[in-house]
Point group: C2
Chain length 195, copies 2
DNA sequence: AGCGTTGTGTACCGAGAGGTAAATAATAGC
DNA sequence: GCTATTATTTACCTCTCGGTACACAACGCT
């Protein structure tokens, strides 16, 4: 349809490959040769299609959130707050221990601490993490008003606890924890659920 | 005492400054100019005193573990397993939200994901994190045998849960969570304690 | 004082980083 | 077939990276 020479690679597939590299090595640890090699293209094609390294990373964030981490949105639609968290944690565990994925959570490890140059992307992934917590809080506020959660429950505190465990299991996965081990962590963490 | 010209800077103080830089920017994000500027020395002095960037980082790990994170060792000496965890989490929260320190945990964020060149240091900090979990497991094994923890308790699972929450609050601190907020997370997390 | 030893300062190195210029190749529309 | 448009390729750019050579300064020792 568009004029000009057609691009010879699948742009979504290339973005997926780039995402995996950022996921495994982090924003700063992923070099241009790392990226282009994994994507199967050379540098000018990358720049023509995605802008630059930072723009590519930001597109990778979106792809991760909307693709690999789509269980988050599904979890938030569960009918009870408890089911929301069970599905969130289970889905996260499956994602971060998935055999086809790098170990750990992209949003946690791709840019947790970095140099000044990368501060923009660091803030962006931090914003995404904080946003998850905010979504949980809103969901728990609704649950309290519906009587699904006990009246005394503080939605913000509970959301922060759920986010904390989520981020914690991400680090555990990076350290080699297995799916089963993390599912037992999930069961333990669930014992703190308000009743 | 030693022959030759005396060094003009305090080596421990310089190491502390370097540690802070690695803590804030991560191993890869900390450049040599960043380090030398913070340490108040120039490059050849750094190399003469510490070897190279990686050796400096490894010395910074030791200094962090033995200095800033000394509450871990103290916590493990508490008389009950519950007290161990309370002190571990409280001490960690104070450390990672301390006004004089970078936000977050050095062992979590200094080298969580990085390029191939930094894989050695990544594995080293991972090893330190795993070691904490192992120490907790041993402590909980003792607690079970002493009747301090219920007989059905799995020390490995409980240690993994405690480590998970520890790492989770580290990420939360990096995202700006306050001391009070994290202490409420700690209280919630403690509700999962076996009884 | 002279010497060996060690630290400091300046100036430099090769390598790799991220990013681009310019020529060529492949398409659509006329 | 010609032109406009877009993608690919090769070769290059500048800048910064981690690391070091070398001359000089400050000490202990005899």
């Amino acid at each position: 349809m568009p004029a000009g020479r057609p691009r010879e690679f699948d742009i979504d597939q290339a973005l997926d490959s780039a995402l995996k590299v950022f996921w495994r090595k982090g924003y700063e640890g992923a070099s241009l040769p790392d990226l282009t090699k994994a994507m199967g293209i050379n540098r000018p094609s990358l720049y023509a299609a995605f802008g630059n390294k930072e723009a590519l990373f930001r597109k990778a964030i979106d792809r991760y959130v909307e693709g690999h981490a789509s269980h988050v949105r599904e979890a938030l639609r569960e009918p009870t707050a408890r089911a929301v968290v069970q599905r969130l944690w289970s889905g996260s565990i499956d994602l971060i221990t998935g055999p086809r994925n790098p170990r750990g959570c992209f949003l946690v490890q791709a840019a947790l601490a970095c140099g000044d140059e990368a501060d923009g992307v660091r803030r962006e992934v931090a914003r995404r993490r904080v946003r998850l917590e905010a979504r949980l809080r809103e969901r728990f506020e609704r649950a309290v008003s519906e009587g699904d959660l006990p009246a005394g429950t503080d939605p913000a505190d509970l959301a922060r606890y759920v986010a904390t465990v989520s981020h914690g299991i991400a680090v555990q996965a990076a350290d080699g924890a297995t799916r089963d081990q993390l599912n037992r962590v999930r069961e333990t963490a669930m014992l703190a659920w308000p009743s």
